[in-house]
Subunit: 334 residues, 4 copies
């Protein structure tokens, strides 16, 4: 850890601090600059100890050198992790295409979507049953019934299923779900993450919409440190001042996460952009920059009840997009 002292720190205070650090079993390398002193600490420090040092009046800044990603980091685990969901593989050269509706609404709806995305080449079926909604007055999803319908769709199509869990209390209901999704709003629900760390089941961890990559990896660390090594990361847009899309898709997070971590990284262009017309271009861009997969909202009959206009990516568009995604991926790797 690097500690920069304020200009003009009295020699006595400096020596007292160094002595105190050394008592805590740290080696202290001192570099005296023209105006300021830099202390390089070598040894094990907890974050809270670092916080206490940072709070000292004579300390201008504290910077950690070693990345704190003990289990998710590249350094200790240089090879790409391949996460298996049944027979589907993600990461290390394996690309996954997850598709399906935002929410499970009815048997008819989810079966139609499942058949269509299967035909278009999807590997997994998505569908929300417990929906975190900004408003308490809005449709919260079908809950347990939604999960049952998803399983029905799996039985018919053979596609493994993924759905969002929002509380550790729902765990019993998710026993037979193939991939558990932690949504952006829950990325720092540490009680939930700890429970997921105890499972023998893959987890799809979405980046919070104002989380740094550091924070995303520390949340993965909660799951990994519980013993569950099957974590897939997902970029889904961050919150910025820009108002032309619902969120700003941060695609540079894909190669940046690949540098920092061995975990697979997929991209959700649907929630990121919030507009069907932008999903295609952003899906292609994600494939081009090295994402290990995509999660795309697909509807079998978008907007049927209201008009003929396209509400979201329909099945034909998805099939065409999936083909182009594969072509772009190959070209990018060429």
């Amino acid at each position: 850890m690097i500690v920069v002292l304020r200009p003009g720190t009295p020699e006595a205070e400096k020596q007292k601090l160094i002595a105190s650090l050394e008592e805590n079993a740290l080696r202290v390398d001192v570099s005296e600059g023209v105006h300021q002193t830099v202390l390089c600490l070598v040894g094990d420090l907890t974050p809270s100890y670092a916080d206490r040092i940072a709070a000292l009046g004579c300390v201008e800044s504290v910077t950690r050198v070693t990345k704190p990603f003990r289990l998710s980091g590249r350094r200790e685990h240089p090879e790409d992790t391949v996460v298996e969901i049944g027979s589907v593989k993600v990461g290390g050269g394996h690309f996954v295409m997850i598709a399906g509706p935002c929410s499970v609404e009815s048997e008819e709806q989810i079966l139609a979507a499942a058949r269509a995305v299967k035909a278009a080449g999807a590997d997994l079926l998505r569908g929300g049953a417990f929906k975190p909604r900004t408003s308490p007055y809005d449709f919260p999803g079908l809950g347990a019934e939604g999960l049952a319908l998803l399983k029905l769709a799996r039985a018919e199509t053979g596609l493994p299923i993924v759905s969002e869990i929002t509380s550790e209390a729902q765990l019993p209901l998710f026993e037979d779900v193939d991939l558990l999704q932690v949504g952006a709003r829950s990325m720092q629900n540490y009680d939930l993450l700890r429970e997921l760390g105890r499972l023998d089941k893959p987890v799809l961890l979405k980046r919070g919409f104002s989380s740094t990559l550091h924070e995303l990896l520390m949340s993965a660390e909660y799951i990994l440190s519980g013993g569950n090594e099957r974590v897939i990361l997902c970029e889904r847009g961050i919150r910025t001042f820009s108002d032309s899309t619902r969120n700003t898709l941060d695609l540079s997070a894909v190669p940046a996460l690949h540098e920092l971590s061995h975990l697979p990284v997929i991209v959700d262009p649907s929630h990121a952009t919030g507009r069907a017309a932008l999903v295609g271009p952003m899906a292609l861009a994600a494939a081009a920059c090295g994402a290990d997969g995509l999660m795309i909202e697909v509807h079998a009959e978008p907007g049927a009840s209201l008009s003929d206009a396209a509400q979201a990516v329909d099945c034909d568009s998805f099939a065409a997009l999936a083909r182009r995604v594969r072509a772009v991926r190959e070209a990018a790797l060429s």
Copy 2:
């Protein structure tokens, strides 16, 4: 709701949409502009119905007119809500001073802090027992034992206590806590909010660090709609590009929330700035712009183990600050 159609929408598609809306029991006022048509919809729409309309190909934008804050909004409830925590009142002219350490660390520590903040004029004692930490390797708080120590401090000083709850599973442990705090990371943990709505106990709801005021009020709505009317809002800094403070304290949220809502609004300058030297100025600013209270981290012996330097707001500084806060508040109201 206001629906703007794209330029060049065919007349037939427009008529079909209007017919469909009217079938859904909405009145549609049509305004034909030079290039575009505007539909004003009158009647009850769920957010998901609005979403479906927004997704139509011929629709450029959808804007809700009526504010969705049914219970937290000023319109239906013009008078300020006064929240009572034992004999302490917050809102409607009553100002609350909450103080205490970030975490409960030991009996000695919390008793010393409790006595000191009581002497300095604090109304409530804060202290974390379940700490949401970015890293799984860091001190997670003393848990149940921390709450027990807090109650001890309450018994001695008479100060009501406030502590953060991070999961509905912890509810039994919080039965005897006077004010339940929902932290920034949990502001959209709707499962937790729903449970808090069923309690007969005041809740301190902190703004998520990238939440809009709209989202904060919708989270309050989760609690209120469950029947619990005792909600206090708290601004604690938002995440921005600015790197000179840990977060950017958004003080304009105080008057803006007072316009939108009848609920009390307090400010936490400690977490917002992350630096003891800025806590004082920001506490005074919060009092000046009409906040209904402050929550400040205070330590009886900051940094004792490491040096003489001030780690955070110490008790004497807090006492002096509390005095100036009262003076500024009076001057601002003059």
Copy 3:
């Protein structure tokens, strides 16, 4: 324009406002909702008139319906604009590759870079002569001499040249520069934009790092409305909380700008990411999502003086990248 009145606006005040609007030659369609009234105004309003209405006490919000992009917008100009820089075409299916060093440093340096990027297939040579630097104590570029060296490199390689202009006072020096670049910091230097609008010379307009797409197009409008129709837009990263890259490359701006405007849109992954290792993936992503070109910083001998390590994209990497960019582009269009 849509004007929403506050709940409870007295009937007399409403009628007075409507009368005043009608006196200003606007048609007013009134929609009476349950709680609030919506006025749809039809006719020509200046932004300042809209501002004055917005400021009225009885007005809750004012929303403009018609997009204000008179010359840069798609509506009046549905076809893609193709900008010509000598024999190089950009937009409407023509892809441009701009490459070269950040700053012109010496004759030897710029000639080596020019030869190398030409060999790798670049269409234009970039090189900064007037560098806007955050610090007044840093290298501000070679100025007029830098432009002279750029022209030398053009004479040898035949590549048209692009360089940044920071003040209208520099215009005489840029007479013989092929493409004038307006940097992110100058995107709202309207005095400069107005002068560029009077030229018969293409302009590369970079998005300010905290500008919305609306603001970018309004800045383009300054140039177009002066009579200069040759404007190329450039996304180069926006400022967000995210700290893993220098800026956050907002690639969804590419398809979003293509929807709004007929002007070509290129991407600068070098300034956006600030890290050589991320330039390649982001260049491929930009090509995949439909960008009309790329601007990439390339050095002939990166880091020669200090070590063998790669400082930035070297010429061989650039040549390989250019090949993959073309392959990805073809695959995305397939």
Copy 4:
């Protein structure tokens, strides 16, 4: 400067880098950690040299220790600077109240405003003549005529005047303006800043709406390093995701700038919030947290042409606000 090497950097590469640094007259203190090596460099480095080191493949990060604010920083200039504008003093305990309309519109308008703000206790009169407008189709201000009207108002009231300059070409027109304002959009117009550095005239430098405090001070440094020591800084709101105000007023910038710099810091709550109802609370908050002054938009007859409703802060409200600002300031200093 602190250079952190990547884990696994070969010893030979490390030694080569150290030798190269020492050749450049830097002292290098080496701290070998468990996984990574830290180099503390002592000596003079230009920013571009630091950039080149940062770009090396073996370098993970580079951090500057000494603050680069040679002239604006507290370290070399511990006492508060007091800027004099005629007989008006700002900073070092002197509080300035600047008021007036956004734009000069007519003789009648500016004279009425000038008389009113003078009566309410303002120290300076503001009024825009050259307005940077997002749209080229909107009112750009009265230009030279606007400045002439401002001077007329000064002649009548005795109030010194402040107006915004947007290009160095306008300098001759501003010869007789008392305080030159650099707007947020021009904060990094270095050509303009350099020219202002050559004047014997105070400058009001507004923070760019996405500028860090570091960048603001470096822009001040451009003016100071030219020999002009009379610079006043102004916080006027930053761009964030928050949508309840036009910008987010970053009041913690006031004490943070006071720590870093000796220059006076004032606050503009009008542009920050964009809503008259929030100007008062934010003005009081600014006074409470130690601002050296305020700049407030005041209109003598807000909204007269349209309705009786208040468009902005009217003169009576301003007079009452000015009184409360003084009371809060005294209380905060008590």
